[in-house]
Structure formats: structure tokens, C-alpha cells
């Protein structure tokens, strides 16, 4: 079965080349980094002080300016860079926002040295026990689900004050446990932060428990 080919417009190659040029320019603009500086930080001398001190150590004597002046210049430059890129993005921003696309590829840009480990503890017959501890072969309840990248996106990198999405994740975990294990009456979900060290540095045994959420059977 052969379907007829659609006729091609004579100006099609020109139009296509123009569209591709526009597409490439728009994506190139979206590949430009945007300086992370807020409006209230524009005149804040404490903004990135440590980094500015390093730069001043390198270039301050050559430039012959004060540390404060260099700080002013850096903040002014970062603000101008940010505003310029955002202005350039403005015409195509609705499309990029609507389809949630970008050309910013910060993949493992900064690797954490204090990672979190997801922990689930349950109370059974009055005794607390660990049901899940990531990478612990003996405590791997629903490991495939909890390590799935989209679920990890909800709990990994949660800040000190967990947001609602994390809270709903812990509620869901508790609901599943209560459904599956009738002898469990309490569920505790938390993140355990461990400070990893380079091989020649003594390991830090301290574990920080945070983002703890507590659920009781009957409350759910």
C-alpha cells in the first residue's frame, strides 16, 4: 500500500533553515548560565564574600582596588549577567516553560560529601525495628520502589524543613506498611546524614537523623 507524497513548497528549505537557526539561537540562549543573585543581594557586602576574597587574593593587587570595590563590581556584573540572560530568554520563555525544557545540564555538578540515607522504622509489639535502610541487604523492604529515580527525586536533597511532597511520600509509605503488616502500629520515616571523608581522613562516625516523620495506625 503506497500513499502519495505530499507536495513540497519551493520555499520550504529556506523556511526550514530559518526555523532551525531560530531554534539553535533560542537553545543557545538557554544554555547560557544565569548568575544566582537575588535582588536583595545586589547591595549586600556579605554576598559570596569567601569567593570574592579568593579572587581578591589573586587579582586585587594587580587591579589596585579595594576588596569592597571588587565586591561591588562582582555583584554588579552578576546582576547585569542575570538580567541580560533573562531578557534574552523572554521571547521564547513561554515555549520552554510550557514544555519544561532547558539547556542547563548540571548533572552531578556538585557531588555531596554528606549524603542522606532513607530509613524506615516500624514499631511492632512495642519494639522498634528498622524495616528499610538503603543499601542494607537485610532491610530492603520495597527497595525497588524507594530507589526508583522519580521517588528518589522526592526525598533526596530534602532541606531541613521538608516540604509537603516529602510529607505525602512518608504518609504513603506508612499507609502501605499498615496495609501489609497488621502488627505494626507506628511508622517512622527519616533521613540519616553521614559525613563522608576522603580515604586518608579518619571516618566520621556521627550520623545525623533529620526530616523525621512519625505516623500512627488509625491516623491515616
Amino acid at each position: 500500500m503506497r500513499l502519495p507524497k505530499l507536495p513540497t513548497l519551493p520555499a520550504m528549505p529556506q523556511l526550514r533553515a530559518a526555523l532551525i537557526l531560530g531554534l539553535l539561537i533560542a537553545n543557545a540562549i538557554y544554555a547560557l548560565p544565569v548568575a544566582k543573585i537575588k535582588d536583595e543581594e545586589r547591595n549586600d557586602p556579605a554576598f559570596r564574600q569567601a569567593e570574592i576574597d579568593v579572587w581578591y587574593g589573586w587579582f586585587g593587587p594587580t587591579l589596585g582596588i579595594s576588596r569592597e570595590k571588587l565586591g561591588d563590581w562582582v555583584r554588579a556584573y552578576l546582576w547585569a549577567q542575570r538580567q541580560t540572560v533573562l531578557t534574552l530568554r523572554a521571547p521564547v520563555r513561554p515555549i520552554f516553560d510550557a514544555f519544561h525544557v532547558s539547556q542547563q545540564w548540571g548533572l552531578f555538578a556538585v557531588v555531596t560529601e554528606a549524603p542522606d540515607r532513607l530509613i524506615i522504622e516500624v514499631r511492632r509489639n512495642g519494639e522498634w525495628e528498622t524495616l528499610y535502610r538503603r543499601l542494607d541487604g537485610d532491610r530492603d523492604w520495597h527497595d525497588a520502589t524507594l530507589k526508583y529515580r522519580r521517588v528518589r527525586g522526592v526525598w533526596d536533597g530534602v532541606r531541613k524543613e521538608p516540604k509537603g511532597t516529602y510529607k505525602r511520600l512518608t504518609q504513603w509509605i506508612a499507609r502501605v506498611i499498615f496495609d501489609e503488616q497488621p502488627d505494626v502500629d507506628r511508622v517512622r520515616v527519616l533521613l540519616e546524614k553521614e559525613h563522608k571523608q576522603l580515604p586518608w581522613v579518619e571516618p566520621d562516625p556521627q550520623l545525623e537523623r533529620r526530616a523525621e516523620r512519625y505516623h500512627r495506625r488509625g491516623e491515616m
Binding site: M1, R16, A17, Q104, L107, F108, R150, R152
Partner: protein, 334 residues
């Protein structure tokens, strides 16, 4: 030559470059492999019992606060916040991904998946990772291509054979995907500002990444000991080097296209196909990621785009050679 004549010449070459055509084999393979990765990922969501948690709103047991926000996401403005809506969105995405893998109404399927995927991100932004962004960008390109004209139902409908009839398609979608890969690797390299990627941080990034229980596939605590730590340092250094220098691949490909340019250095790179160093390193890098980290479809979807690196004539010659060696008639026909 005047500036206007020079500009006209550049524009004519630009138009001609994007108007070139080629066999659909490379793009067809990218489409099929990407479609399979996406379909697997959506199927996996169902297998893990995560359809409602990920696609549903809090009111029906989902993680999303979509109905509590000031601006309700488009999907939940169009559909009620019910289990059926969440299931429906997931089903549409899964079917669209399957259609793309099969090359069935490819362009429409790409459009449907792109729109539904964007709606899904609105519902639960935390569930969206880098590979999802890259996938949507790839969908944008595939949506305007005839990627279904090889190894697809579209090819069968049009020609009576899944292999198609050998009609050429535009090279531009494949070239845009190549450009996208270069931008992604380069961007990933240049944005690695963390000290541990660099000598002053002892090239310890890979070591620390593999100590992170959130992403490590296994317990890698033994990496504290030598020579394992040294191996991770080598891995970190190679990663940063090949990603930061990725734009060189475009220059090498340009030299291959223009044998008269570049002098002796270009002759050397053409003779030994030096760009394969970056492509092979990327291939090995993704296989290593797949073996050591839990990043879902990331390494596989990246590898799914690798056929784009090769001109279809090269791929077809390779398939014919393999087919002849194995005595496969279908591969030899490709």
C-alpha cells in the same frame, strides 16, 4: 566579494546543509530505542505500584499538591483530580511511548507524549530528572522528523515493508540530535563547579558519588582503599576531560565533511577517526553508570541516542557485514 555576497553565500550553504537527505536507518534506530526506554520506564511505574502516587493528587493518595496550589496545573484544570485521571495520564504516556517504539503514527505519538509529559512535570516537578528534559527535547526533534520510515509501522503502512523502501529523509533531525548530545555533554562538563571534580578536590567526585546511598547501586565503602580510590580518581579525571572538551567532536566532524580543510592535524583525525575517542568514552561511561549507579533509564536513553552519531550508510554497511557473517537475510537487507 562584498559583505552582502558573502552573507548570501553563507545563507545558501546553511540552507543546503539543512536540506540534505539520507537513509532513515540511524534516526529510525534512535526512535525505536528511545521509545523502548520510555515505554519501559512508564511500565516500571505501573509495576512498582507508583501510578497514583506519582500521577495522582494528594486527595487520592498522590504525592502532588496540584489542587492546593494557587495555579492549578493544566492537566488538573482539564480533568478532575481522580484516580481515573491519574491512570489516564499514565496510560496515554505509556501508549504514546509504545507507539513511538513501534514507529506507529510517529509524529503524532511524539506530540502526544511531549504534551502529556509536560503536563506530568506540572503535576509532580520533583519526579522530573535531567534525562526527562533531554527526552522531551528529543521528542521535539522527532516530532518534526520521519523517523517512523525505518523499522516502523509507518514504513509498513507507506511501503508494505517495515524497512521502508529506502526513500531518503532529511538529515536535519539526526544532526540536531548530535548537536543536542554535544551541548549536553559540554554543559555537564562545564557546570561541574564542585571542587571534587578538580585536582584541588583530589578528583574525588566519583568516589563521593559512589558513597551516596541515594544513587549508588551497591555498597562501595571499599573504595576508601587503594588501588580502588585511585581508579575512581582516574574515572573522575577522564569524565571531566572528555565532557569539557566535547565541542572538539563538532570540529572533527566538520573536518571529516570537508576533506580539503584543516591541514595535517585534520588529516590525522580523519584517518584515525579521532571523534570516536569521545563517542567510545561516552559509551563506556554510560555502561559504567548503569552498572554502578541507580539512575533509571538515564544511561540507556543516552545510549539509545548513539546511533545518531553514525551516518546511515555507515550503519547499514555495518549491519550488512554483521548479517553476512551471521547468515541473516533480514539484517543484510537493512
Amino acid at each position: 566579494m562584498t559583505v552582502a555576497e558573502r552573507l548570501r553565500g553563507w545563507w545558501a550553504r546553511w540552507v543546503a546543509f539543512w536540506d540534505e537527505r539520507e537513509h532513515p536507518a540511524s534516526l529510525g534506530l534512535v526512535r525505536m530505542f528511545l521509545g523502548l526506554c520510555w515505554a519501559y520506564d512508564f511500565f516500571n511505574i505501573w509495576r512498582l505500584g507508583l501510578v497514583i502516587p506519582l500521577f495522582g493528587v494528594a486527595e487520592v493518595g498522590g504525592f502532588s499538591d496540584a489542587l492546593m496550589r494557587e495555579h492549578t496545573p493544566l492537566f488538573y484544570r482539564l480533568f478532575a483530580g481522580t484516580v481515573a485521571s491519574a491512570t489516564g495520564l499514565h496510560l496515554v504516556m505509556t501508549l504514546a511511548a509504545l507507539c513511538i517504539a513501534m514507529g506507529f503514527f510517529t509524529r503524532t505519538s511524539c506530540f502526544v507524549l511531549l504534551c502529556s509529559w509536560a503536563m506530568f512535570v506540572d503535576v509532580l516537578p520533583y519526579a522530573d530528572r535531567g534525562i526527562d528534559t533531554l527526552s522531551r527535547l528529543a521528542l521535539f526533534v522527532l516530532m518534526f522528523s520521519r523517523a517512523g520510515q525505518y523499522l516502523g509501522a509507518d514504513a509498513f503502512i507507506r511501503t508494505g515493508s517495515v524497512w521502508g523502501d529506502g526513500s531518503t529523509i532529511l538529515s536535519s533531525p539526526r544532526r540536531l540530535l548530535v548537536l543536542q548530545l554535544v551541548v549536553m555533554y559540554t554543559g555537564a562538563g562545564w557546570s561541574k563547579v564542585g571542587m571534587t571534580w578538580w585536582p584541588m578536590g583530589h578528583f574525588a567526585a566519583l568516589y563521593f558519588a559512589l558513597q551516596d546511598p541515594a544513587v549508588a547501586a551497591w555498597d562501595f565503602s571499599y573504595l576508601r582503599h587503594q588501588p580502588f580510590f585511585f581508579f575512581t580518581q582516574v574515572g573522575t579525571a577522564v569524565t571531566i576531560l572528555y565532557q569539557c572538551t566535547y565541542p572538539a567532536v563538532l570540529l572533527l566532524m566538520w573536518w571529516r565533511r570537508h576533506p580539503e580543510k584543516g591541514g595535517r592535524i585534520a588529516d590525522f583525525t580523519r584517518k584515525y577517526r579521532v571523534e570516536m575517542v569521545w563517542i567510545t568514552l561516552g559509551f563506556v561511561f554510560h555502561l559504567a553508570l548503569a552498572a554502578t549507579m541507580i539512575l533509571g533509564i538515564f544511561p540507556w536513553a543516552m545510549l539509545a541516542m548513539y546511533p545518531a552519531w553514525f551516518h546511515p550508510d555507515e550503519l547499514r554497511a555495518f549491519f550488512r557485514d554483521v548479517g553476512r557473517r551471521l547468515g541473516l537475510r533480514s539484517a543484510a537487507r537493512a
